[in-house]
Symmetry: D2
Subunit: 330 residues, 4 copies
Amino acid sequence: MTGFCLLGAGRIGRVHAANIIAHPTASLRYVVDADFAAAEALARRHSAVPLDDPATALADDAVRAVVIGTPTDTHLDMVAAAAAAGKAILCEKPIDLDIDRVDRCLDIVARHGIPFAVGFNRRFDPTLAALRRAVRAGEIGEPEMMIITSRDPAPPPARYFAASGGYFCDSTIHDLDLARWVLGEEPIEVFAMASCLIDPAIGATGDVDTAMTVLRTASGRLCHINNSRRAVYGFDQRVEVFGAKGMLQTENQREIGLTRATATGTDSRPPLKHFYLERYAESFARELDDFVEAIGNGRAPAVTPEDGRRALTLALACERSRREGRAVAP
Amino acid sequence: MTGFCLLGAGRIGRVHAANIIAHPTASLRYVVDADFAAAEALARRHSAVPLDDPATALADDAVRAVVIGTPTDTHLDMVAAAAAAGKAILCEKPIDLDIDRVDRCLDIVARHGIPFAVGFNRRFDPTLAALRRAVRAGEIGEPEMMIITSRDPAPPPARYFAASGGYFCDSTIHDLDLARWVLGEEPIEVFAMASCLIDPAIGATGDVDTAMTVLRTASGRLCHINNSRRAVYGFDQRVEVFGAKGMLQTENQREIGLTRATATGTDSRPPLKHFYLERYAESFARELDDFVEAIGNGRAPAVTPEDGRRALTLALACERSRREGRAVAP
Amino acid sequence: MTGFCLLGAGRIGRVHAANIIAHPTASLRYVVDADFAAAEALARRHSAVPLDDPATALADDAVRAVVIGTPTDTHLDMVAAAAAAGKAILCEKPIDLDIDRVDRCLDIVARHGIPFAVGFNRRFDPTLAALRRAVRAGEIGEPEMMIITSRDPAPPPARYFAASGGYFCDSTIHDLDLARWVLGEEPIEVFAMASCLIDPAIGATGDVDTAMTVLRTASGRLCHINNSRRAVYGFDQRVEVFGAKGMLQTENQREIGLTRATATGTDSRPPLKHFYLERYAESFARELDDFVEAIGNGRAPAVTPEDGRRALTLALACERSRREGRAVAP
Amino acid sequence: MTGFCLLGAGRIGRVHAANIIAHPTASLRYVVDADFAAAEALARRHSAVPLDDPATALADDAVRAVVIGTPTDTHLDMVAAAAAAGKAILCEKPIDLDIDRVDRCLDIVARHGIPFAVGFNRRFDPTLAALRRAVRAGEIGEPEMMIITSRDPAPPPARYFAASGGYFCDSTIHDLDLARWVLGEEPIEVFAMASCLIDPAIGATGDVDTAMTVLRTASGRLCHINNSRRAVYGFDQRVEVFGAKGMLQTENQREIGLTRATATGTDSRPPLKHFYLERYAESFARELDDFVEAIGNGRAPAVTPEDGRRALTLALACERSRREGRAVAP
């Protein structure tokens, strides 16, 4: 059994806790949150020990792995402490919003030689994984264009924006990782254009809520990403890859597969899965599978620290391009 | 140019008139209708001569072909007159509601050796034709089951029912022809169950408005047909053929290919094409193409008198089965 | 916690075992199978006690509920023993293939006043449940026709047929239950036509592999069911309900939501979920939820013994109709 | 009847000729082509007079309207001659590749006060027109993002590129017009990134074959366009508009609505309509309807000279942006 300490008892922490519990060879030992009541509520449900500080947990030899789901600006400290204690780390994205701090993080991880995974869970989604396999297997020949549509059902609360690092570092970063991972080539040029159309309060923080990004790789492949913070019809997650021999498209998912035809507005279907907790439930579980298996086998997890660094670099380049109105090199 | 005389200036007559006009090697000479005003209105639009009796037209050597779209109980007389005049005949379905009269009709046609086509226009629909080709080409192996869904948007006016011959002879007959044509085997057993659920006025005439039919061919293939006289979402026309190596399904058609996703009732699509004039517009035109080409080449039209006879035999067997509550041989 | 004894360690037993384990308030105490090795293999995986006879388990007060997944002809004995011990019972369908034995079973259950559920798991499928709710809520007005397509990916092994009770009692019975449950009315007339088209070895046992059934309810609603034991494209499970104000259709399910467009044969999609274990995984879990909750709350489970009896009565009527070539009253 | 002179007997000329013939109140008088044999072949089919120079036709009072489908660099001369003769003009897009020459053209048209239509036929496509109506009716609230996918089945022959004006002026210009027309706002910022991935011979001419464009309007709406000169699965034409209250998506079109499910690669569908002649057949006809009706009613045609000018301005800005690697104002 791989003993886990979970850092962060928020929304994402609860997802990880449930997956650890359900995993046949993992056990949840500690739940740590600066808000002790939150730690306690989550820990109790899963018969784990609640803490408001990780020290005790990191000192426990029964803990072999740490999942970091705390606020982004605490990641570096948490990584440093966990690495020093020799624990394997699964860290939510982004590692940090500052590339220098990300580099310090990568140094620490490298120095301690611990397994380190970055939480780009979408890579573990069965449909996206099948998409990538099909691309890599040459089913559509050389890929030439990729179109990523990624829209949230509703904006987060206002207080969220301050620490989010901006739309590209907070949200587009998932899509940027997907582009690199599916196309199998690094973008060498980035352009982004964005607007604040949904809520002026978002614009007042200097951020945007509607964005379009274009990437170009060394061999000339093009990738478009469009993002919105509010799709009233649900969590819209579609990826299309177009190549010399055809096209691949992923479909949105619904809880209920029922169509209704009526006299007015025929062929209605139930709404899309609401948000990432529903749409990517399976990918979070498979992400943990990979992490546990990597620890057991002594291999590196599928998503490397370098992947985390590159995605952030691209997101920062998007932000720079948006401000400067020109294509930039990431 | 093949000169035409059109008998019947009603709804179906107008369809044929337009197709004759649009045909590159056909011309419309006469429009005949007992209601002279109707003949006149249609004839004037197409620069043809209106008549209230076919005699003059049938005596005109410039008329080589006759399209019969008059009420069913007049078909036999019209066929006899046209055949005696040596004209090629395209006769709307059913030839007659009485099998003895159909046989007299077939005798007349055989005696005069004229080209005779029965108006099962659906055989000329590009999608249904592609379905049949795929079945015949073995794309799904031996066909084993066929499912035909055929529902009208709304019932005809009450006065229509008296002369209709009942739901099976009036409407299911199209589907029975399709089953024979696609499966390529004669049904040897027929069962039908039906209800009057839409309008008691229909039931009061002894007729039904909701029906399910099952057919079995000699080799054991099964076919189900479901019919309704009222589908509020539009003209529902779907055919599915299931076989040893797969399944073929035709899709309904819409005028507009637009999907709308909204917060309530996501993914609505525009209504289906309204009725047969819209859905089968192309098949009526291709039916005429076949007829004109058959006349020109001296070959028999694609849908033979025998096809008309067999479909009626099956429809009458459905009616008998429904009344007797047992499977019958057609 | 509700303690369970599982009778039968075969394919369906393994499904129930996994769901009992995963259930937050259920625990698996015993696994019983005449084949002790099978009981042992399954019990060990779930830390339960293996037995080759239920007596010990039924005598254990910690066991409050029994799941019966043994061969059909043993159900009556198992029910009698479990009922005598006062256990709640979840019994796989069909209860028995003989209506007299089903009645004895219902008598026993009634006499002991125990909770008794029949395993028509499809009623718990989220999509089918949504379909029924929509019908009952009047979303398509009065239902008039129901079309059930239910095709297995491949026939069971030859030895399976002897004890299966025939295609209607073995397989169509699920669809018959669905028809009753969704339409909310009892069928009063049944007709079935069937063939052996897939494998002559099936026909040699007197059974069929391709079947079409028609039902009529008291108010005249019609239902068609088509079944095949071999759909090469996967487990085909579709239900359509047509009514005065529209139509509802359920969709097939796929593991992977990916479409591929290529030069030849565009728009291919991954196969359907393979069979009932994949397609109805969630409904088996929800069936257990209902059973555990019913026991806890002292209410009857959702699927009653009477439901089991009626579905069998319909299935036997199908078989009788098929042999006699006429519609019969169930 | 509105008498027509058709200038240009090439592929697009043949489309216009057929639509003029089929129009109830239009007649084709002359077909003019520098290649007299081409003019003769087309004219003969439609009983029109072939010419290798427009002078005779423009001097004929029976000619009221001219359709210009000659090479782009001849448009200005043709417009000048036709306008001087007082004829109404339907001119294929682009009016010219040089904005100064477009302005001279607009001056001529304004001076002579003749009806002048530009051939952005897609505006007349029933589905795209329905899309725009839905956007304008507020069905999805304020539009925020538009995604246009427009991919040809195969590149034109090499000799085509020299006079094409580059990918943006030749092909993207249709999509740029669509963006303006649907969004109802002028783009104020344009960015384009493009590659040559399909055929190095295209790159050798300085042109590209794979392009992504981003537009921003004054109110901040964003539009993405992706273009490819080779989609092996057919002519891919999809438009998506995303707004505050939902999303609208147009569907690709197929000649045959048939799905096939098989053991390998389930759910294949027939190919898309091959190219614009098939996909936009109806829009060309409706474009002519509008032109004829505009002439008859003395109103301006739906697509104005200014529309032609603006689309070219945007296309030229795309080309400039691509070369400079930055967003530009059109």
